[in-house]
Symmetry: C2
Subunit: 345 residues, 2 copies
């Protein structure tokens, strides 16, 4: 988008809520939401009302960025993902989706993070990474299709249709191992934002799927690769400008492995530290606190045990995708109300 | 619905998440969401991503039930409504909507309250109560239409189509004054749940609109009636089983009156008490705290001042409507994850 427009759209909403540019932005955002919703409906997905207040099972791998609140003596966590709740239906209905806020307690204010953003999630039974990629590409194609119809808004914000065309699927795919080799990084490194943009540039500024990350840096229920247990069958989509905009994976259906993975996960460690501060938990040993953490996942583990079906799913950060569609340097420009700690209103 | 099914569906989700009945419930809930979304799209509404973390302007009149969390030294409130954010666009785009969680810190666990539920909201420019009623009835008609297609799920839960037929719009309308007279209540009384069901019974178990409530018991921006300033141009929809399921009103467009109403509102009083506990607010006088409260609404007041257009809107409690469609005594039975303080998972 035009730099002067972006400079305007990163301002506090109080300053610009009245402007033509802000309305155009909301209009495009609406089209993206509609595209996701309609894709899901046309393809037989059930829309699930996932809870946003949970006892911990709304956490993603970054438990250290979870918000909490309380009611009487109960600590309640604000959800970061509805994934486990979507998975719960799959043995009876093969496709589920949700769309809603994801909350992250990000203390830094930078060009890529927010404390609240819109997350579009799907889960699919009998599905692997290849099929999941088709869904991701199908949704993005529909989003771009809807955006292209908004001539006045695209013109006003200075977004070229040729830019949208350049983002059309299908996308190239490389493994994590290929990615770190081409970047000269050691095994186990997480990809920084700069790394991601470098990969995108090598890929001629096109979106790029990176698959099979080391299991240590990913969510506990991503499915271990049976040939190479160092990695999970995961897949991130890296977009120009926004970087990682979609996180996908096959889910572990082997209850034994899943339980072992949860037990040794960094998430559970961080959760244990949080639980230690809850009322009634004072004086408990680390092992007791950890058991309490495991207990909160019992309902989910129970479903996997009873219905060990192959399935896979993803979460799309709607504002990250939008940032890329807009060609914006700042996530704050990529949505009506992308909330960070400094722009709350 | 069949009492034995309802007894099952009010259980903790961990116990029933695996059951046919729970899936059927989610299926019907999905159809209701889709109906709302599609109605809005077919009628030219923009889908707005409203923020769920705010500095206070996500509060409805019940500020005493607002959840808070914090990030560094900033207190953040969980939103109860996206209304003001939807209104902000109306001078440029005449129709907006949102759908998402509403958070209420309800310490009681009863048959009608939840700490998180789904709220469907619309705001419309150049619209009065009569036109707003058409939208409400149009949406409910579409919801019932979609539900009627789910033969297997309705059968499984024991929901008669004749029951759904009996809930079809159009609905009768009475004023608050007529309502309290028929109940033998004094002016100014809020209607209890029992009162609501009595009115519904008098109305032959059909949904009923009650209009023109006393301004003291309603949100500060509901439009004062110019002929009878005791009341606001508001409208609640009372449903069998669920009671108040929709709260609608014309919005005040006269900035002077609006400012006076905010200044004297109970909401601002309660907010002032909350602000007094925020970091940096110690030692401030009541008047200073109140000014801080008013300041948080400045962006909204600024829009009304600059664009004093007639407009109106409503919030529908999706789970309350669903409760009525199901014929369920308990709100907990009316949604996949209707969260209260005892059933968090």
């Amino acid at each position: 988008m035009k730099p002067e427009i972006e400079a305007k759209l990163i301002q506090r909403r109080e300053m610009i809520i009245d402007s033509e540019e802000f309305l155009a932005l909301a209009h495009l955002e609406s089209e993206i939401t509609v595209a996701f919703f309609e894709y899901c409906r046309e393809n037989g997905f059930l829309c699930i009302d996932v809870p946003h207040l949970t006892r911990a099972t709304g956490a993603c791998e970054n438990f250290d960025t979870i918000f909490s609140t309380e009611i009487q003596d109960t600590i309640v966590y604000l959800s970061q993902t509805g994934q486990l709740y979507l998975e719960a239906f799959l043995h009876k209905h093969p496709k589920t989706f949700c769309i809603g806020p994801s909350f992250r307690k990000e203390e830094r204010v930078d060009s890529r993070h927010a404390i609240e953003f819109s997350l579009c999630e799907i889960e699919v039974a009998n599905c692997d990474l290849v099929q999941l990629r088709e869904h991701a590409q199908g949704i993005i194609h529909k989003m771009l299709f809807n955006l292209r119809k908004c001539n006045a808004e695209l013109d006003l914000l200075g977004i070229e249709k040729s830019w949208l065309d350049s983002l059309e699927p299908p996308y190239n795919v490389m493994t994590y191992e290929q990615a770190i080799n081409s970047l000269g990084l050691p095994w186990g490194s997480d990809l920084s934002s700069d790394n991601e943009q470098k990969l995108v540039r090598i890929n001629e500024l096109k979106p790029l799927f990176v698959t099979h990350y080391p299991q240590e840096i990913k969510f506990f229920n991503m499915r271990e690769n049976r040939d190479d247990p160092r990695v999970v069958n995961s897949m991130d989509l890296l977009m120009p400008y926004a970087g990682e905009s979609l996180g996908a994976a096959e889910r572990e259906e082997d209850c034994q492995r899943l339980s072992r993975r949860l037990d040794s996960s960094l998430m559970l460690k961080l959760m244990t530290k949080a639980i230690a501060k809850e009322p009634g938990m004072q004086g408990k040993s680390y092992e007791e606190l950890k058991q309490e953490g495991m207990k909160r996942f019992e309902w989910y583990m129970g479903i996997v045990k009873k219905h060990p079906i192959q399935h896979a799913g993803f979460g799309m950060g709607k504002n990250r995708l939008f940032q890329s569609f807009l060609g914006a340097k700042e996530i704050r420009a990529a949505g009506s109300f992308v909330v960070n700690k400094d722009n709350l209103m």
